[in-house]
């Protein structure tokens, strides 16, 4: 522990309660950090690629999650180490930014750390390593742009998009029916995409799941589903050409926010109050009827009396619909959310071609489908599956696929998957390394080695000989000067050209992976002092 002395030789205390803290400094600190980072990467390494394995996570409440999505694994892992938390953040930021490649980015960072450790042992200063990594990452990103290909798709030609989504889905448990799921994702994204502005608002895609049935029954609904049923059991279950009033006020007597008291002291007052109350209910329902609504969707509850009045006037209604769903319904049907009955006008009603109630299985589960909406921009992906964990995992996989499709619409450049892009970058970085004088050269070379670790992990997970396969592919790439050779994970055959196997990834996803991984590794390398409260 560092101790400083003043001119009389008395020790001063720099850190408060320093005896109770553990402190790691210098090379020790770096090594500890690196080993923590590597440990996290090692957990995820086996989940990479189409033959990657899943992890089973048990939450503090005993719920089980089975997934191979990197971001989800790390988030639920209950991590305590600071550096490991950085890795968790890393995966999360990839998830927010790109949505896919959350496992790859962590594996990449782990490999970079591993290489850095070796360089540190040879006495290279961490800052020099960091700088070398920075240079190398720039080379790699540029090289990626170089080997990237644009590909064209339009509303009619969606095949390339479907192929890319299939690459993403093939690493998940849902790969049994990746084709239909990929098609659903692409259709969903295209129907909400703004191709002019190249933007996609994923909030318009709602992903709903219900246990039961099988994965193949998953469907895309051009409209909204709400997990609610009609407020009165005898209301009609199907409405054609619905005009929907979307309300955020309850069918109940008003509750003014200011504190007040209504005192009843005479019989007359008691009677007038009663009449007012009845009139109030009557007015509310009449108002909805008057503007021509044929369906009322309300965020709040109904009084029994109001419920019956609605039923009586043949006005079906749905109660307790959540705020988010309400908004989606408003977007889809082109209606406005109305906060007060007085403001209800015919223009503010939403329109939908068909509203129907559908029941599932042997339990009383019912869902409301709102279809053929005026504005078909909001869609719902409705997932079925054998059990709860399956549904959750499918939701995550669909989310990844949606993100990939969105990224492609934003930027239609792609690189080839199966590790081919990494191998090609590695070759480019390796070649560039020799041009740099100085210590950085070693760091750049180490970066190239780290890039190799992704295809290596892919090969290993697929049950191939990692070193043998990697060197074969690498030499093939150089020999034929073709950056499309990758690891044949699916055991298709001898031809390893990823272009023919239709394995694509987005360019921005790959670039982001390299940049984010490099950044985090730089950050970890720069730490030379870890002060933490010791346990007891």
């Amino acid at each position: 522990m560092a101790l400083a002395f003043d001119e009389y030789g008395r020790p001063f205390i720099i850190l408060k309660e320093q005896e109770q803290k553990t402190r790691l400094r210098g090379i020790e600190a770096q090594k500890a950090n690196i080993s923590a980072g590597k440990a996290v990467a090692r957990i995820l390494q086996t989940s990479l690629g189409p033959k990657g394995m899943d992890k089973m996570l048990q939450s503090p409440d005993g719920d089980v999650t089975i997934t191979n999505d990197g971001a989800t694994i790390l988030e639920q892992m209950d991590v305590d180490n600071q550096i490991a938390k950085l890795m968790v953040e890393l995966s999360r930021s990839q998830d927010y930014e790109i949505g896919d490649g959350t496992t790859g980015v962590v594996v990449m960072a782990g490999a970079l750390l591993e290489q850095a450790e070796r360089l540190l042992e040879r006495g290279i200063h961490p800052i020099r390593i960091a700088e070398g990594y920075e240079m190398a990452s720039r080379i790699a990103v540029e090289h990626l742009e170089h080997i990237a290909q644009k590909f064209d798709f339009g509303p009619t030609n969606v095949e390339p998009l479907v192929q890319t989504c299939m690459t993403t889905l093939s690493s998940k448990i849902v790969n049994r029916c990746k084709r239909p799921l990929a098609e659903i994702s692409v259709k969903a994204v295209l129907s909400v995409a703004d191709l002019e502005r190249k933007d996609v608002n994923l909030d318009l895609i709602k992903v709903e799941g219900k246990v039961g049935g099988k994965l193949e029954d998953t469907e895309l609904i051009y409209g909204i589903t709400v997990d609610k049923d009609m407020s009165h059991p005898q209301m009609p279950k199907q409405i054609q050409d619905a005009k929907i009033a979307i309300l955020t006020c309850p069918f109940e007597p008003p509750k003014p926010k200011t504190k007040h008291k209504v005192d009843i002291d005479t019989v007359e007052k008691f009677q007038t109050l009663r009449q007012q109350e009845q009139k109030y209910f009557d007015d509310m329902v009449q108002k909805c009827k008057d503007v021509g609504a044929t369906l009322v969707i309300c965020q709040w509850g109904f009084d029994d009396e109001a419920n019956h009045l609605l039923m009586h006037r043949n006005l079906p209604a749905v109660r307790w619909v959540g705020g988010v769903e309400l908004e989606l319904i408003a977007i889809a049907t082109g209606g406005r959310i109305v906060p007060r009955f007085q403001e209800l006008t015919p223009e503010k009603l939403g329109r939908a071609g068909l509203v129907r109630e559908k029941s599932f299985g042997t339990t009383k589960d019912k869902m409301l489908y709102i279809e053929h909406c005026a504005n078909s921009r909001a869609v719902t992906i409705f997932i079925r599956g054998g059990n709860k964990m399956m549904i959750e995992e499918t939701k995550r996989s669909i989310h990844d696929a949606l993100c990939v499709a969105r990224n492609l619409i934003r930027n239609n450049s792609i690189v080839y998957g199966g590790g081919s892009a990494e191998i090609s970058c590695s070759i480019a970085v390796e070649a560039a390394a020799d041009k740099y004088p100085g210590v950085e050269q070693y760091a750049i070379r180490a970066f190239a080695d780290a890039l190799d670790s992704v295809p290596m992990a892919l090969a290993e997970n697929s049950g191939l000989q990692p070193i043998e396969t990697l060197s074969a592919v690498k030499s093939q790439q150089i020999e034929e000067n073709n950056p499309h050779f990758g690891i044949d994970c699916n055991d298709v055959g001898t031809n390893d050209d990823m272009r023919e196997q239709n394995v694509f990834e987005t360019l921005i996803g790959k670039q982001q992976q390299i940049l984010l991984a490099t950044q985090v590794v730089k950050m970890i390398l720069k730490i030379d002092d870890v002060i933490s409260p010791s346990d007891y």
Binding site: M53, K55, D61, M77, K261, I264, S359, N387
Partner: protein, 527 residues
Amino acid sequence: MAIERILKDDASEEKGERARMASFVGAIAITDLVKTTLGPKGMDKILQSTGRGQAVTVTNDGATILKSLHIDNPAAKVLIDISKVQDDEVGDGTTSVVVLAGELLREAEKLVAAKIHPMTIISGYRMAAECARNALLQRVVDNKENAEKFKLDLMKIAMTTLSSKILSQDKVHFAQLAVDAVMRLKGSTNLEAIQIIKKPGGSLKDSFLDEGFILDKKIGLGQPKRIENAKILVANTAMDTDKVKIYGARVRVDSMSKVAEIEGAEKEKMREKVQKIIAHGINCFVNRQLIYNFPEELFADAGILAIEHADFDGIERLALVTGGEIASTFDNPESVKLGHCKLIEEIMIGEDKLIHFSGVEMGQACTIVLRGASHHVLDEAERSLHDALCVLSQTVNDTRVVLGGGWPEMVMAKAVDELARQTPGKKSHAIEAFSRALVAIPTIIADNAGLDSADLVAQLRAEHHKEGCNAGIDVISGSVGDMAELGISESFKVKQAVLLSATEAAEMILRVDEIITCAPRKREDRM
């Protein structure tokens, strides 16, 4: 240098082989637990709850058993979940699905030990499951066109389902009950419309199906005990003190006389309400909520039968059978639809008085009254009947039927075996294993019946070698028999759901190579 702990203190992590072993052990333990309940000669389990009173349940329903277990093993939880889903989705086969998934994992464990990669096993299982489904699909019988035959099919399915339950003694009786009840639903799967009333006493044989509706309530004092051509108003309204709903209202008075006045006004209000209700021209009034003495008296004076406290389900069903609507306001008597029935009377079942509505307009709902020696028997009977009803209502929608008694498993196993022989590569081991797991089901059925399973299954296999064979295990006589002749059938939908969810669950567990358990949430000490 020691690797630092990455996870929090109480969290644990198991990797690779250990993780896989933990899953296998957990899943197989669960399977072994429910295995003995499979088949017509399966045994029951006693479950004692940890709650107050230590309520005891006796059952052989897989889903019920698994639901009540407190399990810590994550793989076991997956199996419990599939059983629950099976229960919600098709209602029966809850034990079979767990047993099949467990057997698949047991076979997978052997393959993993023989150094076959889990991914290879999974792809083999997938191919096998697909092939098995197709094989079954080819052999289904669909009698949708022929109503007579279809009804016979339903009857057979109901008997097969019930034969493994406590009701097996009177399965013909109960199968008839269940089929009748489901046929009345006319294709709807809403089992809410079938009401099951349990009354201890008598024997299971005394159970009966009633075409009308029985409400477990008493008729108010001094009101007619029997009404012919009843007009019924079904309501959900407050009949105690009708409180003022405007927020913040309260009564504040300055003298006793005023209190009396307001009380009078309240009474007047209630009287008015009752008058309005009477003005509907009804002679029976059923309310979901409480009816106070005062309005009850008024109703009695008007000669109207008033029933209070009918619960939500009761009200909905009553509205459904009598065709009336559930009313909460009574201002426009002309437009409220009233329910009708021919006769309302009080009947006695055992020692209890019930209200019986007969000759109802819409025949969609009905009531099954179960009688039995004890609560446990009745509970189990209800569960069994529920299973049968679920299966039947699903079969009405998906009319495909297969034979039972281990026949579907043997058919599938044969097709899968065929596939294994044609498949090159390591996958064929997995496919073979799948067929072994399928054969395990008839084996367990035979074992549970105390028969020589090895001999029977071998005979069965030989029989199935012939084309178009209908052989299955006849547990009653303890030999291989013709299932078509014995009339043992099962719903195709149930079998398919069992096959697919079991494969899916096994696949899911196999894919796991690491288990991370978070520290359990600390409960605050309440001491």
